[in-house]
Amino acid sequence: MKIIACVRQTPDTETVVKIAGDGKSIETDGIKYIIGPYDEYSLEAAVQLKDETSGNVTALSLGPSRVGEALRASLARGADSAVHINTDGAETDDALVVASALAEQIKKMDYDVVITSTKGSDSDRGAVGPMLAELLGLPYIGLVSEIACSDGKFNCKRQVEGGVTESFTVSTPAVICCEQGVRGQARYPSLMQIMKAKKKKIEVVDFASLGVDGGLAKLELESLEYPPERPPGRIIDGDSLDAKLDELIRLLKEEAKVL
């Protein structure tokens, strides 16, 4: 299988987020960027699937120059090649702008399947995968928690609401969005893989060359705020474990009214 794995570079999940002075963006000073934690899992799935099918994986990412690091890391984790849509100086916050640029680039590439992940851990949108499918005119399956390939088709399972497991067969070409853990933990690259990845070339495509209409950006960010702080709770006192638990149950019934 020829696989395109979409990878997004996001702030480290341990980042303490500070809203910048403009009230519309976050302070980027001191932020460490990583491969999106959700994309780590989908990239792992892509690499395992290419090994099982003697295929190849191209990691594809959109963003400013720093995104090159995420692609380098993707190469170390087993991608064979990488394409970077460089957005330096361009406004590319909107999901449809991102999806349109990715779609324009993907149209020029040779592939069987595009693999995306649940969401970017920064934007928390989860929108680009299905948008990409629509723009490419491809079938889409979201939030897959199991994936295997046989006879040129994918067998996928996913957990949907109500504790139901759905099974699908997916013919290529298609866009498949993988949940976290779809193929277990993402691998840590060996030193050897990191060294090898340094020698591989990353193809850089200028965002402007893809001809994406900036007018597609229709979601306007007005302001960012911190979520309201939760009022402090209390530690339940009591002479014994029994007394504490009885008081807890009383509070759950009478005060919180959740029992």
Binding site: T13, E14, V17, I26, P37, A95, L96, S121, D122, D124, G126, A127, G129, P130, M131, L132, E134, P139, Y140, G142, L143, S145, R158, E161, G162, T165, E166, F168, T169, V170, S171, T172, C177, Q180, G181, Q185, L216, K218, L219, E220, L221, E222, S223, E225, Y226, P227, R230, P232, G233, I235, I236, L241, K244, L245, D246, L251, L252, A256, V258, L259
Partner: protein, 318 residues
């Protein structure tokens, strides 16, 4: 401009899906002047009328034998093209998320996902949605025609003070594509109750010391009909399946009651559960950060407290 809203959701033989009812209620609260609803279901037409109780003015019922995203999109397209709603609303569930993305790309619409609140200001649709796993809230404006928004489950109450609405059949449009549903079954993978929709969640962390002790969580969940959750550590160590993970790289849950057992409260976990209605924490370390967000804290050894709480709850809820 109209303030017409189109809600898309599911209906089962048990009734209209909660996510759809929440969307209808939120559309009314947002100031919609009409709420039309398209419900996909199997043999559940009789239940679809109940959407009126939440405020729907008209319900379209689509009998669906399997599941096909492309067919859902084609079916809904007919309604959007004829009714030109200002806003299309879906629940942020598996189906809602993927259909929202497809529709937004098709109509070149503004798309706001995982909204906590949606409102009309004049004719303009505005919404609040979390970013960076809820570390910040974004106030957004959805410009252009046919805005699309998904509403996070369990965030707004579904009101049911209306009357049944008229139900019309709507034929499933389009044709199947390369994604074919072959089986749909109640799984035994993890808890019986779905995590993101559950009213009560009982979650376990590192304090349980090993997978062999996770039965304490299962047992506590039972009398509460709760969904089971776990921390990233539990999932990374392979004690529990990935889809039970609550937190920044797992699911964000907002149940009425969240009971955290043996969970210290790393930020990664807190962002996934701190908007729950009532939080109870059981941990033997009084300095654990989980107690900062817990409404009620029990500082005790979980191995003694949990089975005892299970017994007491069994008696209390009966």
């Amino acid at each position: 401009m109209s303030k017409a809203v189109l809600v898309i959701g599911e209906v089962t033989t048990a009734g209209v899906a909660k996510g759809a009812l929440e969307c209808i209620s939120e559309a009314k609260r947002a100031g919609a002047d009409s709420v039309e609803v398209v419900l996909f279901g199997q043999g559940a037409k009789d239940q679809a009328a109940a959407a009126g109780k939440a405020g729907a003015s008209q319900v379209h019922y689509v009998e669906e034998a399997g599941y096909s995203l492309s067919q859902r999109a084609e079916t809904v397209k007919g309604v959007i093209d004829s009714k030109s709603p200002a806003l299309v609303m879906l629940s942020s569930n598996t189906y809602g998320k993927e259909l929202a993305g497809v529709l937004a790309a098709r109509y070149k619409s503004a798309l706001a996902t995982e909204c906590l609140e949606i409102r009309f200001e004049g004719d303009v649709v505005k919404a609040t949605r979390p970013m960076l796993a809820g570390k910040v809230l974004a106030k957004v404006k959805l410009n252009g025609a046919v805005a699309v928004a998904t509403l996070r489950p369990n965030t707004v109450p579904a009101t049911e003070d209306g009357a049944d609405a008229p139900v019309a059949d709507l034929a499933l449009g389009g044709s199947a594509d390369g994604v074919v549903l072959t089986d749909s079954s109640k799984g035994s993978n993890g808890g019986e109750v779905d995590l993101s929709e559950a009213a009560v969640v009982v979650a376990g962390g590192r304090g349980l010391k090993g997978p062999e002790n996770f039965h304490l969580i299962d047992e506590l969940a039972e009398p509460l009909h709760a969904a089971i959750g776990a921390t990233r550590m539990v999932v990374d160590a392979g004690w529990k399946d990935f889809h039970l993970q609550v937190g920044q790289t797992g699911k964000v849950v907002t149940p009425d009651l969240y009971i955290a057992v043996g969970i210290s409260g790393a930020i990664q976990h807190l962002v996934g559960m701190q908007n729950s209605g009532c939080i109870v924490a059981i941990n033997n370390d009084p300095g654990a950060p989980i107690f900062k967000v817990a409404d009620y804290g029990i500082v005790e050894d979980l191995f003694e407290a949990t089975p005892k709480l299970t017994e007491k709850l069994k008696a209390a809820v009966n």
